[in-house]
Symmetry: C2
Subunit: 704 residues, 2 copies
Amino acid sequence: MPPPAVPTPEWVKKLTPSGPQGHELLAQERAKSTLPVQNLSTFLFTEEVLERKRRILEILTKDPVFDKSNNYFAGRIDRFEAALARAKRLRQLTVDHGWTDDEFHMASDLLNEPTPYGLHASMFTVTLRDQTTPEQQELFYKKAKNYEYIGCYAQTELGHGSNVRGLETTATWDPATKTFVLNSPTLTSAKWWAGSLGRTATWAVVMAQLIINGKSFGPHPFVVPIRDRKTHQPFPNVSIGDIGPKFGYNTMDNGFLLFNHYRIPHINMLSKFAGVDPKTNKYIRPAKASLVYQTMTWVRSTIVVQAGSVLARGVTIATRYCSIRRQFQDRDAPPGEKLETQVLNYTMVQIRLLPLLAATFALHFTGKNMMALYKANQKKMQETDNGNTTSPQRSPGPEELRPSSDLMADLHATSCGLKSLCSSIAAEGLESCRRACGGHGYSSFSGIGPFYADYLPTITWEGDNFLLTQMVARFLLKSARSVLKGEPPTNDTTRNLQNFLEKSEMGAAFDILGKDEDIVAAFAWRAAYLTFEALKRRDEQKTPWNDLLVDFFRLSKAHSQYLVVQSFYTGLQEPSTQQELDPETLALMHKLFRLYALHTLESEASEFYSSSAVTVRQIQLARTNAVMKLLAEIRPHAVRLVDAWDFPDWQLDSSLGRYDGKVYEDLFYRASELNPLNAVTIDPYPNSGVLFKSDKSSQFKSKL
Amino acid sequence: MPPPAVPTPEWVKKLTPSGPQGHELLAQERAKSTLPVQNLSTFLFTEEVLERKRRILEILTKDPVFDKSNNYFAGRIDRFEAALARAKRLRQLTVDHGWTDDEFHMASDLLNEPTPYGLHASMFTVTLRDQTTPEQQELFYKKAKNYEYIGCYAQTELGHGSNVRGLETTATWDPATKTFVLNSPTLTSAKWWAGSLGRTATWAVVMAQLIINGKSFGPHPFVVPIRDRKTHQPFPNVSIGDIGPKFGYNTMDNGFLLFNHYRIPHINMLSKFAGVDPKTNKYIRPAKASLVYQTMTWVRSTIVVQAGSVLARGVTIATRYCSIRRQFQDRDAPPGEKLETQVLNYTMVQIRLLPLLAATFALHFTGKNMMALYKANQKKMQETDNGNTTSPQRSPGPEELRPSSDLMADLHATSCGLKSLCSSIAAEGLESCRRACGGHGYSSFSGIGPFYADYLPTITWEGDNFLLTQMVARFLLKSARSVLKGEPPTNDTTRNLQNFLEKSEMGAAFDILGKDEDIVAAFAWRAAYLTFEALKRRDEQKTPWNDLLVDFFRLSKAHSQYLVVQSFYTGLQEPSTQQELDPETLALMHKLFRLYALHTLESEASEFYSSSAVTVRQIQLARTNAVMKLLAEIRPHAVRLVDAWDFPDWQLDSSLGRYDGKVYEDLFYRASELNPLNAVTIDPYPNSGVLFKSDKSSQFKSKL
């Protein structure tokens, strides 16, 4: 990096921020509360994970390739090259240290940027592991695992995203040569968005319409060599490139890919579940589609699990900075008070930040419940598989594969609803945190903006957050129909629906301000009410599906909000929670639960009214009394609570969120010492070139 | 720009999107409606403005310096240099063509990027024009106007934003030398964020605490030479630089500035309103602070005026793209239907986009009303000034200057409330539009993301959108007190409050589904209800100000939403509107009014319930019947409605929003032909350098 044009003068270097200093303010904050931070961290993550983090952090921070100081300044090409270098180094470290998957993921998490190996290490390798025959395992999976093949996963096309059934790329079986002919018949059939494809991958798993003897059998996966190992150029009749810059995620080479009647051998169709018999030229129907289906559920569950920690990064940065930033005196402050107030003392800042702080814990418990449900289903599937040979017909589409059991249906709906809600909470929350930092939140050095921009695709991929709500609604309508038919409840959802039916004639009387369990019950009640309302419109009034999408969205949100509130509540009742947390922390967690639940309830007040779950008066009291009181009670613990999320400064890479509070020093250091623009001296007058005299020539100089 | 590594193969160049083509779909859309686009454009902008746009567009598009094709790819330094070159060229064109201010602003608007001359052309020159003595006009203003001095406006500091009174930079009067000594006593006193300061300006208007004889007289403006004209280096004892990259606005050099006991002559204090008498060394009190105060109101009013058009860019892009993008068949479509549905046909997409389309018109009429109020006040002030010699005391602070008349108080509150609401609607709306574009919305080529990122500071600057709501609340509380005292209503606000008081014992019965004027009345009722509720809490219950901030925010929002709905409604009643719009367009505008108002009402349902303005049943009917019906009725006109906003493709710079619908062709062209990353060939294997063999050397190659 070039040095700044003018070195920072000595008299500037001597300046310090006006007092009290950031580190003093954070020390005061930490002294206000006796919350045992270390203990809460251990409860959230376990000692094993915390130890792992320290160990891997030390390895990464010592390695110059992971130096982050240029990240916020570099252009796309430099950032991409840096990210690739880091991906390579992570792979080398994995080999050198014999890292487990958990250790590798910890390193990626600390590095905090998508890398060009991202899709290789996940979807490409996992697909080859799970969807190959033993012969293919040897040929493809092992090479992928050892990074001899670098791959990507090419499904989405320029004209086709969510609707996998509508993909245009074809793989036509040629009985004469026993090969598949891959073809991109239109521009819209270009594979588009696949991560790691643009510049990096030598192989791709390609989803293409399988055609045998003129008949289409729907999309199937093929593993396809796309670039020459020696020259790294695309093979003839293959066209590849990077799709260009994005709102974020610019360290990743999302790519495009087209085929011109490109042939691959029979062995390259991933055939664990379905295939083509090369002798009869007949389609072999899939045996166990549920496993494919499990992959999507797994990915969504992972998004749910991560949402709390994603949001916590923004909340950590904003909470620390709002404890240091001071602005105005409180209007009711004693006259003569000179010191400005920490902005975290303003209720308008508290109402924006503290419910998000509460949400980080709500999402933490929700993630735990999500993963428990996933594991319960996996266990049950394994038990069933052992004595089961049924082969459900594969029928992917807007509703994906139909779940084959009650538990699986529950898991599917839960993962769809929670993926949609939790990733939205995290994304919106990050942006709220950025804005709560005022002007400096707009600086890249806040660390929130770049992270938010990288996180944003999560609300679209693995099922668009709006689209997924239809699947939740379908599950709920089906559940309601079974309850109306008098079938006995089989899960929490049907129990809530049954309970609502039984009591709907008596009305509800939830003491939301007095009893925590009544808050949970009010959320269940509202979701049940909306379910039966939607059912009436669909089944009785025969309303077209399309006219109900907005209702379905609201229904899915209501149901998923119930799941979050319920997870938080039951998480606090768990014996392990009661055991691991001291009474003070536990009491504070209960307050965070109430803040999260009541604030959510108040934001959705009209549905709670309509369903008669609560009264107008209760909502008013919740807003003006309960929530405001909770803000005041939680405020003193805010900094310690975010400390418990245990983000190393290196991971946050934020001037505003530094653990030591040296906000202004760091902003100034990055601007004055690291910023390469300051090495450019321009000529400011209109009738001149752009750059100053002896400075490097500019493409714009000649144009004037 | 380097050529792509591998040229696009001929077989790819021959491909077209699968049919129907984008241009066919847009043609169908435009055929569905008979809305006279040209006529509506003229109504919105006037013929004069439309002609101006065409004329200037032609000049700009012919000039290579304004070529936008590299914008989404270039790194910060290149973008900054390009923006400076364009700023210079705009200045040259202004001189060459003798452009008026309106013509210059049109050119800037079409260029669609902040430039390093941005603050020179606005705040620097305007401040010099308005706050200088005749002698200073000659010395400073004229040179600024002729671009002999390039300047910026340095007010915000590293540690001080909204609270101008808390600024730390000092300007100490030295009677011995008759100079002011500018000083930055701390790091937090560094001027920070000032646009055009980082690399460009040679002069700065600096706000600093005036100190005379040890006593502080508050912040005052000084015009300060900061860089040497010949070397463009900072003067000794001045430290300047760019503050680094931001979430957006990266073509602008927002900067920092510090002084080390830096002396400027007496003449450099801008002394039209206040000053220091160099003979007596006494402070000269300000004569007419109202003009200073008017500048802030003017800037806020401008933000209100622009909000509709800002939002309309996103709505234009999303509406066109959602007419072309197809995904899934409608669930109730006839079996065998092969063609996928345009996503704009899904109600879930309609509910996200069409209320925003309605909002563009709501904001248009709001902007017109805002400007009319501003002009009425200016006229009144001029009339008063002629016979008035009172000099209101200047007392800037969190509440800024207290307005000195009823009309001015109304203008102040209205500009604060509407700036807060309208810029939030525009910003949130742009992001909603981006997301409504699905995956491709995330691509920079969507054109929405980069524009949104550049617009975002608007919600923070010129009064933070949260902070401003306190000023609105204060105005409303004061108005309510006067009504309670029995003072006769003087404006629309007090009339509404009076009306509420008179009828509050009878209750309201607004026919929101039947009568448009009743919708407006319901908004007025709810705002009045919240005003008296807040007043009760403040005056009767003596609630601390800080505990009311959340209530004040809601109150300001409710009041401002009323203003928007009322502006839209009365705008449609105007004789000029009735005259200029044909009956069909007028009927459609009324539908847009209802959609905007009922959708807003429904989003804020709980406050409408609490205030008893509407019943639960009414809201349910509004949601499930009225709004859904309006969506269906407006849907066929959507593309023509956005066409009426008349954005040239060159201005939007969006693949998705092209007038001709060639979405996929343009996405592919930019990715394959313009994208410089595709010129980089990497070595993908973990134990190698980053770049491929003969390729240019990389800083990361050596590190591995």
